[in-house]
């Protein structure tokens, strides 16, 4: 596979992904001659409507769902808000939400707002994680109460790739009549999902994490689940989400889901092997480096490694000099001054939390790229450690 930009080694796929060339190709007619409104009465628009129907079926196929359970949205965040707010409106007498301490801001900040902006009308339980980023199922069980309206737990963590046992958790919620939502933005396309055999009521996904463009997402709503829309407006999406369909992106997402299904095995074999190679070599060559997150219960593409006594932004900028793209849980890479809430929740010491780098691969990565990163990283870390007053190496 030819890289999109040969000077760039892109290992930041949990942030966003390259739009697959096949996806661009599928989208092009809808950005040019097929500009009709899918809601129109004429054939010109009606044909566009047919393409959306096809895309819906392709998304449903990847998730093991029915097409009517798929609602297109603008992004993962919209899907998350829609699911959680719908549950609260469906059961207005219930005032409790169960989530985790390591959610993406899309869920984390919504829950914080539900507590504070409503004057603590809602109560939120945030489940702890252990040093490997895993949940305590006993704590989860005891958190479920008669007052709980919804559980919202991410399927896999965006920073560490750690996978939560959502199938089991959803069943436990269902037994108690509690709705279950999962933010599966990082999971779809990376591990196989079969929603018809699971008790998950809502699932969010985002197009740009699986080689579709930015600005399109999906909320899966299990058949029979009571639902109150978030975006009011026209009758689009069976009245579940108002607003003219983002046709080209929806068609692109359909194609991306088809490709993801085809590449699922490669993702879990070749990509995983590349990730393992990168991780094992870096941990072996660079002293005082450590893996963040569970070794095996993890997405096949993600490696989050801490390099102690150096700061993440400084590492990233040196990597940038070599065209290597990754992310950091360091405070200095974001507007905030505290390091990643995920690593802090896991109890990663400050010495390591500030120096964490997340490598997230995709099917477009090659072994040559991995070897460039393995070759460049030790010198980068060493040069920064030479500057560090804490490094006694």
């Amino acid at each position: 596979m030819v890289a999109a930009n040969p000077s760039v080694i892109y290992m930041d796929n949990n942030a966003t992904t390259r739009v697959a060339p096949e996806v661009v190709e599928a989208m092009m007619p809808f950005l040019t001659e097929s500009y009709g409104n899918p809601s129109s009465m004429h054939t010109f628009g009606g044909l566009v409507g047919q393409s959306i129907k096809d895309a819906r079926a392709k998304v449903a196929a990847l998730l093991g769902a029915e097409p009517e359970e798929i609602t297109f949205t603008s992004c993962g965040t919209e899907s998350d808000s829609t699911a959680i707010l719908s549950a609260l409106r469906t059961y207005p007498e219930k005032r409790h939400i169960v989530t985790t301490r390591v959610e993406h801001p899309a869920v984390k900040n919504l829950c914080e707002n539900l507590e504070t902006v409503t004057g603590h009308k809602y109560r939120v339980t945030r489940l702890k994680v252990d040093a490997e980023g895993m949940l305590d199922m006993a704590e989860y069980e005891s958190a479920l109460t008669e007052d709980t309206a919804i559980v919202s737990v991410m399927w896999a963590n965006n920073e560490t790739g750690v996978i939560f046992p959502v199938a089991e958790m959803a069943s436990m919620a269902k037994e108690r009549g509690i709705l279950f939502h999962t933010d599966a933005v990082q999971t779809v396309g990376k591990i196989a999902i079969d929603l018809k055999s699971l008790d998950i009521d809502f699932l969010s996904l985002s197009g740009h994490k699986l080689h579709a463009p930015k600005g399109v997402g999906v909320l899966y709503i299990k058949r029979g689940t009571l639902f109150v829309p978030f975006m009011m407006g026209g009758h689009q999406e069976h009245g579940r989400r108002g607003g003219t369909d983002n046709v080209a992106s929806i068609v692109g997402l359909g194609r991306a889901c088809e490709l993801a299904a085809e590449k699922m095995i490669e993702e879990n074999s070749r990509v995983k092997q590349l990730r393992d190679r990168l991780e094992e070599k870096l941990l072996a060559i660079i002293p005082k480096s450590m893996l963040n997150g569970h070794k095996t219960k993890r997405l096949p593409n993600t490696a989050n490694i801490s390099f102690e006594f150096v700061e993440g932004e400084a590492i990233l900028l040196h990597m940038n000099q070599h065209g290597i793209c990754a992310s950091s849980g360091s405070a200095c890479t974001s507007g905030s001054l505290e390091p990643s809430h995920v690593l802090r929740a896991m109890g990663v010491p400050f010495t390591a939390a500030h120096g964490s780098i997340r490598f997230s691969l995709s099917v477009y990565n090659t072994v040559e790229e991995i070897d460039v990163v393995i070759a460049k990283m030790p010198a980068i870390i060493e040069s920064l450690r030479k500057l560090s007053p804490f490094w006694k190496g």
Binding site: D130, A131, F309, V310, E311, G312, E313, A314, L317, H318, Q321, S330, A331, C332, T333, G335, S336, L337, E338, P339, R344, G347, P349, F350, T351, H354, K386, L387, S388, P389, F390
Partner: protein, 279 residues
């Protein structure tokens, strides 16, 4: 992605005067690992009060490293009195400017310089005075007032960018607003610190103190038995530690934590502390 000037890039990628001066005339040690940036500045000063050499070691982001590097270049050859007048704005200017969220990096440079000069002159640091306003980063009212005046700050966001105050839990926002109002309106000259609740330990002071007590009171005992202890995190009154070496597998580890570590920390640091083992 931050927009860094060429000058920042240059000083970050090829920092000048890295290291520590042997037997320095003055040392300035500011920041900490917990804060995410730290700077150790060492100065060599001759008998005419001229700074003949300056070296730095910095843990932090690109702006922190660049600020430290350019600072050493600025002060070399300067009289101590002149160097004492350098402000964080001067440091930022020498770099062709810093993104506003990164101005605290230049403040760290000025603080280290101040500390090193105070150390050389055998003076007490002005930083230790004042009431702590931001407990997350241990920032005092005097530091905030100074930043507001020196850099003409006009919003809480700017205060955070320059001093870090308010960048953690955000609980001090109301206090910051009051300081800002009072300082801008000129009331800060008669600033009355009593408006703040009684002195509490900042998270940083707490962490530092806990580390000291672990080192002095607890580690020696554990090491005798081939064990060790590591501080993992401090969250409010919760102190998370990990036992190492033989302690790790010891069946009595829970007793060690509660009866020995917790008792000592309560005695020497704060009576409200709760020690837990990291697992």
């Amino acid at each position: 992605m931050w927009e860094y000037t060429d000058k920042v890039q240059e000083h970050f990628l090829t920092p000048q005067n890295v290291g520590e001066i042997d037997r320095p005339s003055g040392t300035g040690d500011v920041g900490s690992l917990a804060c995410g940036d730290a700077l150790k500045l060492t100065l060599k000063i001759d008998k005419n009060d001229i700074i003949t050499d300056a070296k730095f070691k910095t843990f932090g982001c690109a702006s922190a490293i660049a600020s430290s590097s350019v600072l050493t270049e600025m002060v070399k050859g300067m009289a101590v009195d002149e160097a004492a007048k350098i402000t964080n704005e001067d440091i930022a200017q020498a770099l062709g400017g810093l993104p506003k969220e990164k101005m605290h990096c230049s403040v760290m440079g000025r603080e280290a310089l101040e500390a090193a000069i105070a150390d050389y002159r055998g003076l007490k640091l002005p930083k230790a005075e004042g009431e702590v306003v931001c407990e997350c980063f241990g920032v005092t009212d005097l530091e905030i007032i100074r930043a507001v005046k020196e850099s003409s700050l006009r919003s809480i966001e700017e205060i955070t960018n320059f001093t870090k105050a308010g960048g953690g839990c955000g609980k001090c926002e109301d206090k910051l607003r009051k300081i800002l109002q009072d300082t801008v309106s000129g009331k800060s000259e008669i600033f009355i610190p009593q408006v703040f609740p009684p002195k509490k330990m900042t998270s940083l002071q707490k962490i530092k103190k806990i580390e000291e007590v672990l080192e002095r009171e607890i580690r020696p005992g554990l090491k005798k038995d081939g064990g060790d202890i590591e501080l993992i995190d401090v969250d409010g009154d919760f102190v998370i530690v990990a036992l190492r070496g033989t302690c790790k597998s010891c069946s009595k580890s829970q007793t060690t934590i509660k009866e020995y570590v917790e008792k000592k920390l309560r005695e020497f640091v704060l009576p409200s502390l709760i020690v837990e083992e990291d697992n």
